[in-house]
Amino acid sequence: MDNSFKKERAVLMFENGDFYEGLFEGKPLESGGEAVFNTAMNGYQELVTDPSYNGQVVVMTYPMIGNYGINEFDFESGKVWISGLVTKNYVNHYSHYSAVKSLSEFINSYGYPVISGIDTRQLTIAIRDGGQSNLYIAPKEAGVDYIKNKLSSLPRMEGLNLVSNVSCKKAYENKTDFPEFRVTVIDYGVKLNTVRCLNDIKADVTVVPHNFSKKEILNTEPDGILLSNGPGDPQTMSEEVETIKGLLGEKPIFGICLGHQLLSKSLGFKTYKLKFGHHGINQPVKNLKSGKVEITSQNHGFCVDFQCKSADKNTVLTHINLNDNTVEGIKNEKLKAFSVQYHPESSPGPRDSLYLFLEFKAICLG
């Protein structure tokens, strides 16, 4: 452990003015975003590279972070998407055969801060009880007024469209050996593991930008379409919803997370913001058809309201969250469309829900 340099003091402030002091791990960088806490005890590499975290500062509830460093294969995208990482006890002296660098080095290299020395349980309780708030991290000497100023200029997550930040600009392909069918993924911030999971079930995958038209999408000749996960408020994505409406009935559709919210909207459901969202890898979801419970990986602040009167009557509720009974999955058999709020591709988290990819394959081939 290198104690030779002194860590610089950091300040972290919420919109209500509450602030906490910690230390910068690595570079003293400043940044802000929506405060979310994540209860996963490991899996930080997947988490910080997940595009769904765009615009969010992540508070890790598990106190010791960085333990196994960063390796060369657990990336969920090509870069760091979080706006900052808040820890209780950051571990610089990582140990793992596959580690190539430290977590802070990695996050810093994309310009975002990692801080430690924060009572993250206290912060978690503050986020849980206080609800949604933005958070700003800056060097202590920046001063309270400066930080307040910065905080006030941060956008609110509600009403925020982030998809254009994270979506690919050009379509690209990910082929598999001995393909059996073709899937086109609409990229609202897709995680690499979603593509890997599709490849694993023998799908040739084409990933297209979020703003591809119906025609452009159908031109890729898919057997099925996957609506990916992604960041931001689904309310702001009416164009994407319109495109999906056009695709409904044309091809089988499978939505994940933001993709689930967009599919739901295209079927006439509304979405709303949860008080502090679901961010973790231990969320119990009940499959209403089989009666079985899946332990799922989740990362979302918005949720689908299934009570909408205007919604498509053929759509059924398929999965619910056992902690708070919120909507976790829907299905419209007639339109060959289904979606889940959680992440069947996991990464990080349990792989209890991989069966959904197989169900998707069955629909595509059926």
């Binding site: 106190p63 596959s98 009572d119 349980r121 009880d129 119990p284 349990p350």
Partner: protein, 1108 residues
Amino acid sequence: MPKRTDIKRILIIGSGPIVIGQAAEFDYSGTQGAKALTEEGYEVILVNSNPATIMTDPDNAYKTYIEPLTKDFVEKIIEKERPDSILPTLGGQTALNLTLELFDAGVIQKYGLNILGANIDAIKKAEDREYFKKSMEKIGVPVLQGGFARNMDEAYEVQKTIGFPVIIRPSFTLGGSGGGIAYNIYEFGEIAANGLNLSPISEILIEKSAIGFKEVELEVMTDKNKNTIIICSIENLDPMGIHTGDSITIAPVQTLSDGDLQKIRDYSIKIMSEIGVETGGSNIQFALDPNSDDVFVIEMNPRVSRSSSLASKATGFAIAKIAAKLAVGYTLDEITNDITKKTLACFEPSIDYVVTKIPRFTFEKFPQTDSTLTTHMKSVGEVMAIGRTFVESLQKAARSLENGYYGIESLYGLDLSYDLINEKQDIETVREEIKSFIKNNDFRRLFLIADALRAGFSAKEINEFSKIDMWFLAQIESIIEHERKLFFAEEPLKNIDLIKESKEMGFSNRIIAKLIARKKDGKHILPEEYLKKDPQAVSIIEETENAVYGALKDAGIKRVFKKVDTCAAEFEAATPYMYSSFDKFNEVEPIDNEKVVILGSGPNRIGQGIEFDYCCVHCSLALKEKKISSIMLNCNPETVSTDYDTSSRLYFEPLTFEDAEAVCDAENNPPVILQFGGQTPLKLAKKFDSQGIKILGTPYKYIDIAEDREKFKNIINKLNLLQPESSMAFSGEEIFDKAISIGFPVLLRPSYVLGGRAMEVIYGEEGLSEYIKKIFKQDISFPILIDKFLEDAIEIDVDALSDGESVYIAGIMEHIEEAGVHSGDSACSLPSFSLDNKSIEKIKDITETICREFYVNGLINIQFAVKNEKIYIIEVNPRASRTVPFIGKATGVQIAKLATRIMLGEKLKSFNLGRSFDINYYCVKEAVFPFSKFSNVDPMLGPEMRSTGEVMGIDSSFGMAYAKSQIAAGQNLPLAGNVLISVKDEDKKYLKELGISLTEAGLNILATKGTSEYLEGIGIKNLKINKVKEGRPHIIDALKNKEISMIINTPRGQKSLEDSYVIRRSAIEFSLPYYTTIRGAEAACMAIKALKENNIAVKALQDYYKGI
């Protein structure tokens, strides 16, 4: 789907006595299970031979049987109670094996019992290593290369194919006993033969050793819908090669990526399904190559285990309770999470702290045995600590051990001599020694690793010879680096940031003081001064400790308390489970009604076991019954007292004064109860008293008197009572002079020890010199107490209840073994079986006198010796004793609860108990020893306690009660066959009576030369048998030919000890019943006679109490 309605009566099998590998964790699981099923409206029939358990409290079941856990006895219970189901997964390996035995004998089928939790097939698949291996191969889960052997030829065959080192694991044994690692063919032969012998099916698995691989366990739960969840992941700090029960373990895992973890999670779910665990908890162990992504499954336990108890305490998830509910048909999503009360049990707990478990060893009691760690378990207990970081958690756990250290102190005093290291000529020797200890898996490895770092080894070097992951070593290194900062700091108390950082890292005030203390000349305390407890050095450290305390107080630095809530604060939780940390935010408000703090008994160890936890739990229950909030403070994860719903609030904290006081402070200093947790809380009495914290129960002054020899002697003299002549010595010469003036035999022991450590009976000057040498070698501090040893006296234990005015004699227990055998190791009978009424009345009178004289408020235990109608007082303990639970079970009078009520101010008279308790049946308590786990240890009884647990036999006659106690303790009394007798000269006078008894019992006598000749002389028929030195065929030949069914051997003095050691040790190796005292042997004769004359009968405690 709700619970099953087709079942009504469920038999739960407990795990029997506390032994190495199976401890109080199964009392915790059995209690939770029995309570949960009773709550669900089922009639629970419970059987366990261990009276010191909460599960056998009659309130916890419809019918409670304290009977031996053997097929015959359990069949009797089934025949009588006709349960429709049996739940075998809560009572450890014992219950699983017994269930298999009942199945193989057709009992389960005959009575049509449903097996809940795991079916026979699943148990066999998981427990039989060959089946298991095949199952794993079928589902593609990698296992280590290896094979099975049923005899030595096969064993050598398998070994040849895999080379060295190899791991040998016997099938169906407890705590891996009989297993080991062999590095060469010689070791291999020895371990394999032993393993074949110990495996009930004579089968061993020989596997390529994965020494140095990471060892990780997952605690898994599943329900009948195949919903499968991982409750907790646990990483062993010690890599593969050391039994997980002996490893330092950490929850959650620290050094695995999500990918690594999900891989073993997926494997676990597959394994559960393939093995066919229907419902409940299982534990699955994996080995991970630290240099690749190779993973191997090592084993699984299809039942609640030691690890699941730890996982339960680590996460707050009530594994045993939920396992019981799943067994009767609930699914995980139908059960509420008791901790949050808002969410369901169907989720995977997320924790936001680090849990460290450290095993507690008692090698000091078995100096002859090998104290290095291997694949069979040797620890007798464990501690757990919770901190917000690994170092905080580790340091808290280290000081919870009660091994005389306040943290990870140096064994060599190196933490006090950083600047001297290079000047010290012998530092190289020390370094080599440390290295070799670590390499050979010495049981003190945590302390040795710290010393290796202090002695200049780098973490990388230590990693090379210990194979411990660099992550852990770097963390420990950060502790040592900080230690250095403290040690070299100028005016450290003015550098409050440094002190604050120390506290955040988990350093105790005492350690900080030790490191920063300076003598008047400004120099540090020297290692020698510290290790020898130089009074001046001690007082400087104590003063500095007060100064550290003061500095922290002045700076407003205080620990905060946080909640264990299963969900990392994602949901608000109504949890009563707390821990402290030097973090920022305190979320625990003091309880705002009347409350009392109970100090628990810390780690299980020999001398202080589950009995004291039982007392603490009863105290807590009594407080709750009186609507007073009970606040439990303890650090032992294997207990009922640390269950989240035993007390109104649980603080999982070390039992040092600093930690205990902080809890009291956080609760605004309510009164404390120190009487129930054994010596651990009692040691703190003085400090609590001086801090003005109210101690409920007997006033501190009298606790002190009982512990202080001189003051005690004066009181006994004043009361005109008898005490064996005694004295105290402060030096070796004094021991000599005083022992001779008292006259041999004498009993020697150091003052202030529990469990009789370094206690010995000495018969002459030669023995005296040996003893003096030993105490110097073992660094035992003076004064040494010298007592006249009353040979052949009958020892009596009395437990009584008093409010200072009235007295209730709760039980007068007669020891089977004569005075001189530690009371914890002696069998005892309630009521007395040989004492005359006059003596009994006298004992009652004396007890009453002492209770009044000591202003006893609560419980008292008095040990008497009766010789020639004279009654001597050996010891007075104004606190709960080891026999309290035994008395509770024998009489049905819950004296620990009543004692609590007395402490709260109720009068004894209001309970209408009368003067004493009389029962018309016999209860015999027998001790259970770990000799089979420790090679080279002589199994003779003596004044130093060595038993780990106890069993109870209960029946209408003494003979049957004693017989049951022996069977329950694993002494399979023979009804025919040959008894080998070899006794010391002093005991020959008893041989006539013993010989007649044995002959009457239908046994033939084999005797060694001296004994044989003596028997001839008094006309007792016997066959002479050669000692080993006397030529063949000798005793060992006869043993091997199974010609001996029981051994009676009474040794005396060092020399005879060695001669007859082989005989006694053989009894252990050949699993034969053996007696090392004449009185024990005589009782065995009575038992054999009773067994021959009676059919075995079983009766529930509830039915015994009805007859009173």
